[in-house]
Amino acid sequence: MDLLYKIFLDPFVQMGTAPDLLVQTLWEGLVGGVLYALIALGFVLIFKASGVFNFAQGIMVVFAALTLVGLNERGVPAFLALALTVVVMLVLAVAVERLVLRPLVNQSDIILFMATFGITYFLIGFGELVFGGNPKIMIARELYLPTGAVEFKTLGGFVSLQKLDIAAAIIASLMVAILAVFFQKTRIGRALRAVADSHKAALSVGISLDQIWVIVWFTAGIVALATGIMWGARSEVSFALQIIALKALPVLILGGFTSIPGAIVGGLIIGIGEKLGEFYWGPLLGSGIESWLAYVIALGFLVFRPQGLFGEKIIERI
């Protein structure tokens, strides 16, 4: 009885009595969710266009951030370093397409998945070789990212928002908006959607798959760079960051592998659910449930909607 009370009532009582804490927790969940959503976005872009489940997205985030900081350390001005990093991501996209995707075209999904592991290993080794394995501080100030916190009084308490988090949320929303316009309005965006629908049909109307893949990997690289800057500024730039790629998987499951709005909504649900669970239900089970809660939430959704919230309905034919 006591346990039932603790599980089903007590957390809500706590939420009711201290709404400021609830708001704070929700906000933190939201910010975490935005960053998950950004990583998931990189996954979705590549999965839609090339059917590759890109495990390397996590290391791409680290690699992009590391390149930026590493170049700055070597005396390149911050914004020039940013531009150079974009160039590096373009080179990476071209290299991946030429050396990995093109020779492996038409292979089964699991082989391509495995190939992205190869890319991951290569980038880990390369990144550590060139920039060293030590954690680095993100050059937040040089990039004019705001620091400090805004505090305001509300609901009988203080809620404090990091300015950086606000900036992250704004940049993420901007990025999603730009991507949405890019996909809906431009020629290349239309070509991307055509490729996502059907490779063969896209080829038959004269869309170059190779080109599309480079563009998609490059876009994913840019998304990775933005994620890396934001996440790096919140903590630090280190190889431990790549583990967040695994956190993006439940987000993908929730939203569906092929849906951009799904990635966003899924990211927010997972981010908020994780923080609420950890804060209100965590003490019951011993802390650290954050490590698996996201997967269990996703699993719960999956049993009822196997294709995710926004995924295309899976129709199987014999």
């Binding site: 699991i110 592991f117 699993l299």
Partner: protein
């Protein structure tokens, strides 16, 4: 020239369905077993047994386990590490609770606990498949790993939170614990792996294996011809987790001699997955090839600069190893997406028709 089956007539169904229908294959497997059971123990030093042969065999068994699930039944799993952990922790609890029963019994019995957990986490596989299922098994991976750290009962409330393998003897010989010689442990591992490989090879050739393969090729079609999907998929999860559990128990009891929860982290799951993909999905021999390549290749790569006398910093060697390993994975996949087992098959075919091309 030597490898030719001309003149070997099969006069009964039993002969036709033998695992090794060709005489040369039977000689080959006998030679391999003789090397493994006689030559290596007789000539190998403690380093070879401890650092190469025992881990290689343990990983091979885990790879066979995952291959039964992913290669034969087509269910992608990223929870191998955790299932290995269940085996290890179950074995630890059993042998500390019943110290008088031989630890060999418990190593094998721990597989059943792992199988039970595997079935539990395999339940979603009826509704979801492909990468979606992979994420479901990730839930198992992270949840179980969390249990290994947070439930002190599992490691007998030891302060360090680690498993420490106690001394256990079997027939008067120390099998586990600090006093066990590498040779004893090698023989135990080798015997278990040989036995379980033999079982697996018969399993996949029989009715169950065919059911699994039918489900892999297309599960709806399999259902239409009367295969019960839930049972088949859960059986695959059970058998696969059993193998992984035994491998995990052997890893802690016969190789490491002690372990923390980190050993069963996600990296372990990925490593086993590499092994079966590089080795060849849906082949038993591929599990061995893959385990050899993925486990031994980094060891060799690290040893290269030292043997050549190149003055490279150890950290740099480590980074280069990562880069080379990553490139090799991609190169292997491009050269032969069906894995090393396929290369082996091609080589055998070439030998059979030599000197003609086909």
């Amino acid at each position: 020239m030597l490898y030719r089956e001309a003149g070997q007539y099969k006069t009964s169904y039993a002969a036709d369905m033998a695992v090794f229908p060709i005489l040369q294959d039977r000689i080959g497997i006998a030679v391999i077993l003789a090397v493994a059971f006689i030559v290596i123990p007789a000539t190998g030093n403690a380093f070879l047994l401890n650092a190469i042969m025992i881990p290689f065999l343990v990983f091979s068994l885990a790879a066979i386990g995952l291959n039964l699930l992913t290669g034969y039944t087509g269910l992608l799993s990223l929870g191998t590490g955790a299932f290995m952990g269940v085996g290890a922790y179950a074995c630890y609890k059993l042998t500390t609770a019943f110290p008088n029963v031989s630890v060999l019994v418990w190593i094998l019995a721990s597989g059943f606990f792992s199988a039970a957990v595997g079935v539990l986490f395999g339940l979603p596989s009826l509704r979801i498949k492909g990468f979606y299922l992979a994420v479901a098994t990730l839930a198992a991976q992270f949840f179980l790993q969390w249990c290994f750290i947070r439930i002190p009962w599992l490691f007998n409330y030891s302060v360090s939170g680690a498993l420490e393998v106690p001394l256990r003897t079997s027939f008067g010989v120390a099998v586990t614990g600090p006093n066990a010689t590498p040779l004893t442990r090698y023989f135990v591992v080798l015997s278990i792996v040989t036995l379980m490989t033999w079982l697996a090879s018969n399993l996949v050739r029989g009715r169950i294996g065919r059911m699994w393969m039918a489900v892999r090729d297309m599960d709806i079609a399999a259902e239409l011809i009367g295969i019960r999907l839930l049972r088949t998929k859960l059986l695959a999860f059970a058998v696969s987790s059993f193998y992984c559990g035994v491998a995990g128990a052997m890893m802690v009891f016969l190789w490491y001699g002690g372990a923390e929860a980190d050993v069963f982290a996600i990296d372990q799951s990925f490593q086993i997955l590499f092994m079966i993909i590089i080795g060849g999905l849906g082949t038993l021999i591929g599990s061995f090839f893959g385990a050899a390549l993925i486990f031994i290749l980094p060891i060799l790569l690290r040893a290269v600069p030292e043997t050549l006398g190149l003055p490279i910093h150890p950290a740099t060697v480590e980074h280069l190893t990562f880069m080379i390993l990553g490139s090799l994975i991609v190169i292997f996949l491009i050269a032969e997406p069906n894995g090393l087992a396929r290369l082996w098959q091609i080589a055998k075919q070439k030998l059979r028709v030599w000197p003609f091309p086909y």
